[in-house]
């Protein structure tokens, strides 16, 4: 567990987070490795984990009939992967594929939600860290939708 808490402390997601909370959420965490082209999760699957990427690259992809999967974002070192575990029905809405060897810390979603529900201070600290990347990705989606390079 000591190694895992140390890995968490080194990740930008936990910047400014009390050791007490890091130790608490570490109880829901595990160290994971994905090989190139491993799927971390697939569209429609149950969102049972979220990941903090330590090293590597993950492509977020959507499939359309008759064409290859389309990557709309790459997630890299220091990023958070996946937010569908936060809200019901806890279902992934896209695929996540490791582009290269990728090391991450995986959190068991039910465990973390339970701890956030039990202590709203923990939940608030978590939300403060989830919302900025969500807003950033919403903005990216707006730019992609506007097709800004077409003009």
């Amino acid at each position: 567990m000591k190694d895992l808490t140390e890995l968490l402390r080194q990740h930008p997601f936990t910047a400014g987070l009390d050791d007490e909370i890091i130790n608490l959420i570490a109880g829901c965490a595990s160290n994971v490795v994905f090989q190139a082209n491993d799927y971390i999760f697939r569209e429609g699957g149950n969102a049972e984990h979220f990941h903090l990427i330590r090293h590597g690259t993950v492509a977020l992809e959507m499939k359309a009939p008759g064409r290859e999967a389309l990557s709309f974002l790459t997630i890299k070192d220091g990023d958070m992967l996946g937010s569908n575990w936060l809200v019901p029905p806890y279902r992934w809405s896209f695929d996540a594929r490791a582009v290269e060897l990728t090391r991450a810390v995986a959190f068991e979603a039910t465990c973390l939600r339970t701890k956030c529900d039990a202590d709203h201070h923990v939940g608030y600290e978590m939300m403060k860290r989830f919302v900025p990347p969500l807003l950033e990705r919403l903005q990216i989606a707006r730019f992609q939708g506007a097709d800004i390079y077409s003009a």
Binding site: T74, V99, F143, I148, Y149
Partner: protein
Amino acid sequence: MNTPLDPMMPRFLPLQRRIRETADVLSLVAEPLEGEEMPTFLPGQFNMLYAFGVGEVPISISGDPQERGHLVHTIRDVGAVSHALLQLKRNEPLGIRGPFGKPWPLDQARGADILLIAGGIGLAPLRPVIYHLLAQRESYGRIALLYGARNPADLLYHKELERWRRVPDFQVRVTVDHAGREWLGDVGVVTRLLPKIRLDPADTVVMLCGPEIMIRFSTLALLDMGMSTKQLYVSMERNMKCAIGSCGHCQFGPHFICKDGPVFRYDRVEALLKQDEI
């Protein structure tokens, strides 16, 4: 600079080569007639290109300013004039007036780190800057290029991008809005590349060229890094006619893009970029 005495009089250069860059973008390479002098230019300047019987459009010069033997313009097929220009065949005359406009601040930037941010066809006006920086590498600090495009097929200058990636001490990062499996690079907006480059924010000059939306959100990210609007330079685009500040077609608030720009320090246009219908 070598502007003709009458700036409204085009000179005619025969087209020597057409280089296919993407499905709708070509680079046209023109050379002077024997015995004629090739117009010189500074990185960031543009020419008015004339398609006979159709019209004129402003196009940034995208070639190497040190190469005196030819003149390169990279053109996207977006309207009647650009379409007509891209139909020109070898040895057919290309009408050119210019060069016009204020260049990128390469002299003022000597000694500083340089960050170039390009979006889509916005890499074309910055390519002369890259040639200049690489030719005078010792005069500048760290240099970096962040380039965003819609998809891998829309990236300009593929071979040069690969070559620039191999240049030591030149940080080149490319990202696209979406891509298939063959693309192993970044997917996302250019600002996501900012944390991955090494620069001194307090001593960096940034040159941006691309869609205005990209310029606006990039400048916000740069200001968040601690830079000031006085460190940022943007190349602006508006419809132009005369290119010498007489007709007013390109008026942008108190500025004429053709003669006061197209390159502006960001603090001089920041407020205008936030106003509607300018």
